[in-house]
């Protein structure tokens, strides 16, 4: 258990530093790269929770597609070389206050809800947890118990896609 805790804190520290980098950076591309650190840290946390499938999907979707699209968009529109001071504005202190407040509320909620719960990853209970994290189990629950929400989400995404095309095409 100790080893997992050490890794958790190391990863959590890297993620927090990366997240601060995202909002502190004066350069859009650097900010996107800091975001990669945060996403990779989240994937590593999933591995610590024995959810290997979710971890790889996190990397494929967020690092391999979403942030690549961010970078693609940045490079197509404007790719500032060097510092871009316009990224900073005078609302940084209100923003800092709001984010600290949000972090406090969410953290307090999480600690209140799960603070005393221990995640067992060894023995019979651990085996059960490993089964839950497997690809087959996830697929089963998505396509049986949660099939309606799954399809609704996919239709929502399709509608968003069509909407984007309609808005983008003026001819």
């Amino acid at each position: 258990m100790i080893v997992q805790n050490i890794f958790f804190w190391v990863l959590a520290l890297a993620m927090v530093l990366g997240a601060i980098g995202v909002v502190r950076s004066q350069n859009v591309v650097h900010a996107a790269l800091y975001l990669v650190v945060v996403m990779a840290g989240a994937a590593a946390q999933y591995i610590l929770l024995a959810a290997e499938f979710v971890a790889w999907v996190q990397v494929i979707i967020y690092i391999g597609a979403v942030i690549i699209l961010f970078l693609f968009g940045i490079m197509l529109t404007r790719a500032p070389m060097g510092g871009d001071t316009k990224l900073d504005n005078d609302q940084r202190w209100p923003a800092a206050v709001v984010s600290v407040f949000l972090a406090g509320v969410l953290g307090a909620l999480l600690i209140d809800a799960f603070g005393k719960k221990e995640i067992v990853i060894s023995g019979a209970k651990g085996e059960q947890l490993l089964q839950v994290g497997k690809a087959g189990h996830l697929a089963d629950s998505i396509f049986t118990a949660y099939v309606v929400p799954f399809e609704v989400v996919s239709i929502l995404l399709l509608a968003a896609l069509v909407g984007a095309v309609v808005i983008a095409r003026r001819d």
Binding site: W56, I63, I68, L71
Partner: protein, 398 residues
């Protein structure tokens, strides 16, 4: 639970750790030597195809040419442009070489052997969701090219990077979908499981299985998408010399430039090895009947031999492609990716699903499979009819 290798299933002691380290070093060295050999092989074969001699000075038949080039690159000056983002500029070559290395680690190279009393596979790692790992690596590999183009701080590299990201994002979809058909057939995500699922039984079951009929379509889509994913000619718009000087690596010199080329050729080898694993049965093949089944030759040598034979055939194919097919135009590239490959691979997935369901439900496959193909062709025809036609002029060259 990271791997289903029998080596790791009985607890981990020092010997097991040493075996894993030895395997890592062997795979690493093997890939480097393969790249060296492949570059020499490519130059020689293209030279033959073009009636030239090719490299012939360093070593017998010029086989040491790549090594000489590599050593030369180490001693060259490495310049960084004034406008470059220095940190990202230095980082980018490594970001492009690392995924190529990592993806090769889950390729099954040989059969199950025993080293120092431990049963193990001739394969560095066999994660239960290996195919997702492959897709992940091909997605992450894009960062090197994109960041190199952006960090160089000049126009041609940036254009190359934008082209690269558009191309790779477009073909990733077809690439992933063509793999889905294989997964439906084998029912597992582990690379060794997929290779084993293709093990030979008999001609009769091979023909009546009907998997080959869809697998051929998926294989063609996979090969085209993989060639595009590796920026290999005829899809090398990313570094089109006539248009972009060198594309994303224009500003790179010395060993950093060499690392980009190492990554590129390594990607070609890794992709070919993946194709061997997913579609050509990996290390399986006929054993030598006159030698004992469990003997050294049939356990160690023959699977490795079959793997490398298949790999060599595919690698020769890539060289052939490089020597003979002209580069695509940008709009042709996008048409092929979005209008043909993606819809064809969707249809292949549907037909494969019908074949799998027919197997599980015990339907008559002589009716089900042709019906599925007919349905797929009808859908394809309908889609073609509905698609707006655009005349063949260059209108969207980026």
């Amino acid at each position: 639970m990271i791997a289903s290798d029998p080596l790791l299933s009985h607890g981990i002691d020092l010997e097991v750790v040493l075996i894993v380290i030895a395997k890592t070093i062997v795979v690493f060295a093997l890939l480097l030597v393969l790249v060296m050999f492949y570059i020499w092989f490519m130059r020689k074969v293209i030279a033959d195809m073009q009636n030239r001699i090719g490299p012939n000075n360093a070593g017998p038949w010029g086989i040491l040419q790549t090594l000489a080039d590599g050593i030369k690159f180490f001693f060259k000056e490495q310049s960084i442009p004034d406008t470059a983002d220095r940190w990202v500029f230095r980082l980018a070559p490594y970001l492009s070489v690392l995924p190529a290395f990592l993806a090769f680690s889950i390729i099954p190279i040989g059969g199950k052997v025993s080293i120092a009393g431990h049963q193990t596979y001739l394969q560095l790692a066999d994660p239960p969701i290996g195919v997702l790992f492959l897709l992940m690596m091909s997605g992450v590999g894009l960062y090197g090219v994109m960041l190199a183009g952006w960090a160089s701080g000049s126009k041609y590299p940036l254009l190359g990077a934008v082209r690269a990201s558009a191309q790779l994002l477009s073909y990733e979809a077809a690439f992933g979908l063509s793999v889905v058909a294989v997964l439906l057939h084998s029912g597992t995500l582990s690379t060794r499981g997929i290779a084993n699922a293709q093990a030979w039984t008999s001609w009769h079951s091979f023909v009546t299985d009907w998997y080959w009929s869809v697998a051929i379509v998926s294989f063609v889509i996979f090969v085209i998408a993989a060639v595009a994913e590796t920026n290999h000619p005829p899809f090398d718009l990313v570094e089109a010399e006539q248009e972009l000087v060198g594309g994303f690596h224009t500003e790179y010199t010395g060993i950093r430039f060499a690392i980009f080329f190492l990554a590129e050729f390594m990607n070609v080898i890794t992709m070919s090895a993946i194709a061997v694993t997913l579609f050509l049965g990996g290390p399986s093949g006929p054993a030598l009947g006159f030698l004992p089944q469990g003997g050294f030759v049939n356990l160690w040598i023959m699977p490795v031999f079959w793997f490398f034979l298949k790999l060599m055939v595919l690698l020769f194919g890539t060289v052939w492609l490089r020597a003979s097919v002209p580069r695509l135009r940008y709009d042709q590239l996008m048409d092929l990716g979005w209008k043909w490959l993606i819809e064809l691979s969707f249809l292949a997935v549907m037909v494969t699903a019908v074949v799998v369901v027919a197997r599980d439900q015990g339907w008559d496959r002589w009716i089900a499979v042709p019906a599925a193909f007919g349905g797929a062709l009808a859908i394809l025809g309908l889609l073609r009819l509905c698609m707006p036609h655009r005349d063949e002029t260059v209108s969207e060259v980026v």
